[in-house]
Symmetry: C2
Subunit: 155 residues, 2 copies
Amino acid sequence: MLFSTKAEYGVRLMVELGRQPGSEPVALSAVAEAERLPLSYLEHLVAKLRNAGLVTSTRGAHGGYQLARPATEISMDQVVEALEGQIAPMECFHEAPEGKVLCSHETDGYDACATKLLWTRVQGGVTKALAGTSLADLVEFAGPHERKESVGSAA
Amino acid sequence: MLFSTKAEYGVRLMVELGRQPGSEPVALSAVAEAERLPLSYLEHLVAKLRNAGLVTSTRGAHGGYQLARPATEISMDQVVEALEGQIAPMECFHEAPEGKVLCSHETDGYDACATKLLWTRVQGGVTKALAGTSLADLVEFAGPHERKESVGSAA
DNA sequence: GGTATAACCGACTAATCGAGTAGGATTTAG
DNA sequence: CTAAATCCTACTCGATTAGTCGGTTATACC
């Protein structure tokens, strides 16, 4: 599996925030309920998103979370990276300052790492897919909230 | 990390086989030595490659492994999939018979899975990169064997 | 000021997976 | 027969994932 549920849950959390019309913060418990995810686990994930500057939080009563920027300006590579850490296809891949890719196998005078070409291409493909998708794309794809409350609030 | 060392080691093993000029089988111990990888671990990996029909084995003395097909006809998605299992970005992704992608979240009458668009794109990127690279590409990239023995056999 | 609400924080746990080891059984060339 | 190899199963150890739990701090509202 390329990614874990951290990315899955975290992205869904972000989409949920992006679907909110108003500018008021949304309580995490509301997100947890809407997405049927464990609240206490979401707390860990949203902390990562906050540390990455993707969401802002308001403490206290009527507090909650909001997107730090409009959804059109949040690309999914930032989101996934915040949640899963550096996106590299392989342990030995280190991102060099100027966007270059280093392979730790090359350091030990051994002949050129045979797998580098492959992992570079894979990483390129993933990065392109993630960076080329904005949160707004996903929000639009998900469509407006099909209000479960309209049915469920009575029950 | 997208992939584990299983893919890394396994691909290097395949490249090593692809670099062999003759048609004689290569002992796994030779590969292990050349790539500085633990032999007993490679045994597990090569078993997967054999089950996937990517290499053939010859038992007994002077036995070993060979590519089942020319390197130009082995695409890396087959190799990586044999080693790592189904290439899916997320647990909930199931490959349907006709190449369609199913998301298990969609089965529970819940509204369309917001993440599906993203993971589909990611999977597309990875698959394209892997399928578009043949073992022959990597063999060529790695270059001919820089015979370490010419230096190392004396030491 | 008190209270309910909600973010924040750290420690803990169970299950799974990765990476590797170990030991033997089987096959085959010489 | 024996050495060289594949083959096979079981086991260990550590890291990571997916949570849970308990408590602390901040704040709106009465």
